[in-house]
């Protein structure tokens, strides 16, 4: 049981909607951070965010106490060449969702404050245009979670 507790907490954390007076506005799922190979200090974080409201929302920032800098980036493929560009915000359509996944949007986690390995948990706080915030716990993994 004690071994399972963190997993349970994680599952709860991953799906707990942003707490707001008038009810939740967003929900996150499929949260994970790719473990950095040796010698690399930049990690990529992935998740999906669902907008539960009937109005468009914008993800304005992602923060983490475990990293010096956190940015949102998008991998853009053009003619078979991939490049990355920083994005300031990401729109989530009304009652729609946006996925941060390999080859697309991802969170760049830079200057880690400690070494992170598979099984470690990272706190992320997502801020939205309606003033709400969503705190999620992201597990560090070698491979993507099974869908």
């Amino acid at each position: 049981m004690p071994r399972r507790l963190p997993v349970l907490l994680l599952l709860l954390a991953a799906f707990v909607p942003a707490a707001r007076g008038e009810g939740p506005s967003v929900r996150a799922g499929h949260v994970w951070i790719r473990q950095a190979p040796p010698g690399v200090s930049v990690l990529a974080g992935y998740f999906s965010i669902e907008n539960l409201t009937d109005k468009p929302l914008t993800l304005t920032s992602v923060k983490s106490p475990d990293f010096g800098t956190v940015e949102m980036h998008e991998s853009v493929s053009q003619g078979g060449t991939e490049s990355m560009r920083q994005v300031g915000e990401v729109d989530i359509p009304a009652l729609g969702s946006v996925e941060f996944k390999p080859g697309g949007y991802h969170v760049m986690l830079m200057q880690p404050k400690k070494n992170l390995f598979a099984g470690d948990m990272v706190s992320l706080t997502l801020a939205f245009s309606d003033g709400s915030e969503l705190a999620i716990l992201a597990p560090v993994r070698r491979d993507p979670p099974q869908r």
């Binding site: 790719r34 950095a36 190979p37 010698g39 690399v40 990355m84 390999p102 991802h106 830079m110």
Partner: protein, 212 residues
């Protein structure tokens, strides 16, 4: 001429034409059809040029190093948080799919860094091994890299550095399949599916085995 004789002549003519067509087909057409693959199978295998890079296997990474076995080449850089770890992890899973294949038929996997300014062989060794103990890292100066990348159509360029000196590298994301004669034969383009890649790889191996 009697109509019966005419008919016999016509019959012979048709037989001769059909025979000629069949002989032509057998001579100029491979006995086995090209496999249907998700991978882009080049119409004609393209010999690689001479190139000289360094690799983590301790030998020079040259055209000769590619002779005698199948290889997969992927070009990236270690400071790449998204595309490169994703691809290398998928290539590891593809190797897992080929578990039952004889060692001689398995591809060698090369991760070639196009960011020699930050990636040295020590870093590349740890990086490549992290994904699979058999993966080989390689790099060289930009000019030497271009000798290999340009003919393969692999592109790379550098973004301007930020105030901390960090910069992104733009690079092609396809994986190049090279045959034991050091010829480019196919490209795997993302999103890579390890199972499909393994199946395509085996189909291409079989096709080349039967038609050479």
């Amino acid at each position: 001429m009697k109509s019966k004789t005419l008919l016999a002549y016509a019959g012979l003519c048709i037989l001769a034409i059909a025979g000629g067509l069949l002989a032509g087909y057998l001579t100029f057409h491979p006995r086995h059809p090209r496999p249907v693959t998700e991978a882009v199978l080049l119409h004609e295998a393209k010999p690689l040029p001479e190139f000289t890079l360094s690799d983590t296997a301790g030998q020079g990474f040259t055209r000769a190093a590619l002779l005698g076995h199948w290889s997969l080449l992927y070009f990236g850089y270690t400071h790449c948080p998204d595309a490169c770890p994703t691809t290398l992890s998928e290539l590891d899973h593809m190797q897992g799919q080929l578990r039952g294949v004889p060692a001689a038929d398995k591809p060698a996997v090369y991760f070639i860094s196009v960011d020699p300014q930050r990636d040295d062989l020590a870093l590349l060794r740890n990086y490549a091994l992290y994904f699979n103990p058999a993966f080989i890292g390689a790099t060289g100066n930009v000019e030497s890299l271009k000798a290999l990348t340009a003919p393969l159509g692999v592109d790379f360029s550098y973004d301007p550095a930020d105030r901390k000196g960090d910069y992104g590298v733009n690079h092609s994301t396809f994986v190049v399949l090279v045959d034991p004669e050091a010829r480019e034969v196919a490209l795997f383009t993302p999103p890579l599916q390890p199972k499909r890649m393994a199946a395509d790889y085996l189909a291409i191996l079989k096709y080349y085995g039967e038609n050479t």
